[in-house]
Symmetry: C2
Subunit: 341 residues, 2 copies
Amino acid sequence: MSRKTITIKDVARFAGVSTATVSRALSRPSSVTPATRKSVLEAAQSTGYQMNQAARNLRKQQSGAIVVFVPDLSNPFFSHILSGIEAAAARNDKSVFLVNTYSPQNDNADALARYLSSSWADGVIILDGSLPKDLLQNRYVPGVSPPVVFGCEWSPPDKFPSVRTDNRRGAKLAIDHLIGLGHKNIGHVTGPLWNVLSTERLAGANAALAAHAAGLPAWQCEGDFSMASGTQAATQYLTLDTRPTAVFCASDTMAIGFMSELIKNGVSVPDDVSVVGFDDIDIAERFIPALTTIHQHREHLGESAVNLLMNAINGNAADDANAPLVLPVELIIRDSTKAIS
Amino acid sequence: MSRKTITIKDVARFAGVSTATVSRALSRPSSVTPATRKSVLEAAQSTGYQMNQAARNLRKQQSGAIVVFVPDLSNPFFSHILSGIEAAAARNDKSVFLVNTYSPQNDNADALARYLSSSWADGVIILDGSLPKDLLQNRYVPGVSPPVVFGCEWSPPDKFPSVRTDNRRGAKLAIDHLIGLGHKNIGHVTGPLWNVLSTERLAGANAALAAHAAGLPAWQCEGDFSMASGTQAATQYLTLDTRPTAVFCASDTMAIGFMSELIKNGVSVPDDVSVVGFDDIDIAERFIPALTTIHQHREHLGESAVNLLMNAINGNAADDANAPLVLPVELIIRDSTKAIS
DNA sequence: CTGAAAGCGCTTACAG
DNA sequence: CTGAAAGCGCTTACAG
């Protein structure tokens, strides 16, 4: 149906040079004389030439792209990380493609394995620590599969380079803040317990509580980082005989679901209960009450992931390349927490 | 640095057949005898063979992928559309790659043009109606560039197939609801006026107001769909001498920023002012007060986009393929609107 | 059903 | 600085 596709050959004929020269003029302009460069560029222009990536990729044995596995695009937590990734990728002259691993279509190793191929990606960044084990254990063949780097989450510990936030310290900051406010009965809504983030934050929280010999054991409830699970936690909280006066939620999204349901049921935040989240997503400062939370440096997380990946791609990774890079966190105090009265 | 890459040739040698047979056994199993199929599969297994996509793409002149241009991944509005796209793409055996057009790295035609190549994508879905004009006008060459379909937004009208929500009707439903509640002084926070969504919704709102000969002209304020612009609108609203008793915001995100700032300043929603949003994002029902809004069928939007695209790819598009497909909307009444007292 | 061979569109030593 | 030629790893008519 369409006119014949224009190749480097057509450009060469038009410009009266060889295909080799066209290739050079286009990809390494300095390697040809200004005159030939000019005529090639003009020829490319007037023939409407567009490079065929597949051919180049095949020949160069690389794709010029990095793919990112994202667990849940609906979670606003990821968007800033992606900005960081894109900025850094652009600096390294790589395209970035996102793959939604949370999608039911991508729920198995087979579906994802196709993306984990050097013909698609020069490297892959995985933001999802809960990929099917099979994928990285059996499908991934070192040396032929593209380099992998984990961001935020991580899964086979220390098998790949990774950047992450200091989750334990974040949890500690949250609990310390609550204790400093005089709270003695502190609850914790965790993420899914098979997730590293959840267990790290739980460990951090428990350690902080233990350190103060606060009034433990407190109420604990397992969520899944979703808003819905936050509201379920609230439902359970409401049935408690003695309700904690403060609750640390392992994600902002859950904290919002939690507060929302509480307020709906006449429980005031922070008058009746203080709430702390984790992540500092955009809505956190806009929810009423504005959410006290743990801020993660998300752009930086994304950039670091790309840097680690580029090192792996270029083969100049440090000896301890697999030692996790841990980024600092900050407590952001807003209106959802208050000293006990 | 790594062991030699394993090709179809190695598999062929291992299985004692030709490369042609390996190729057939792998991609069209029914075209070889069960015996050869078995031995080829085993050979592939034990050699650890992995197909080289670039080579296949080059040979087949297609990529097996569709790429999606997303304007702003941080806007939760898009996640459900993407689910719909991914589900439909999987049914059509296509991979999907996302490209963030909002990223500063992708702000120009050059950066995006590289993705708009048949070597990357068999087709592209554009969810961003505000792409640089140059891209689709000059860089896009019909017949050689991959088919394009617009979802949600659209830009050169009727030049490409598109699916969209009935924006005008959505706005009308919002206004009619407010009028039905007795409001006579109704304000409108629009999206950016260079955006089709904004102008459509504005037109729908104005038409509905005019039809009722309600107390026009009402206050109008231009935002950019972001939460921050919603709070700015609120700041402006607060300075008004006679404040509208109801405000229709062209997106939920703006509505939330708007309400948040109002409440912070002691203005009650819905007691002092009713607010209606547009989109029905996840947080809408959880914000306090829960937001009355216009629901869009986002999964369906995504699926329809893929269907249109597949028609274009397979060359069986209808004659009126470029006539926009318009999806219905629904008014969801929650707690942010109330009859005037 | 299977094999030999051509070719997809590039890039890059190798000569000159 | 430029050209002729090989080759990246597949798939697919064309014979048999």
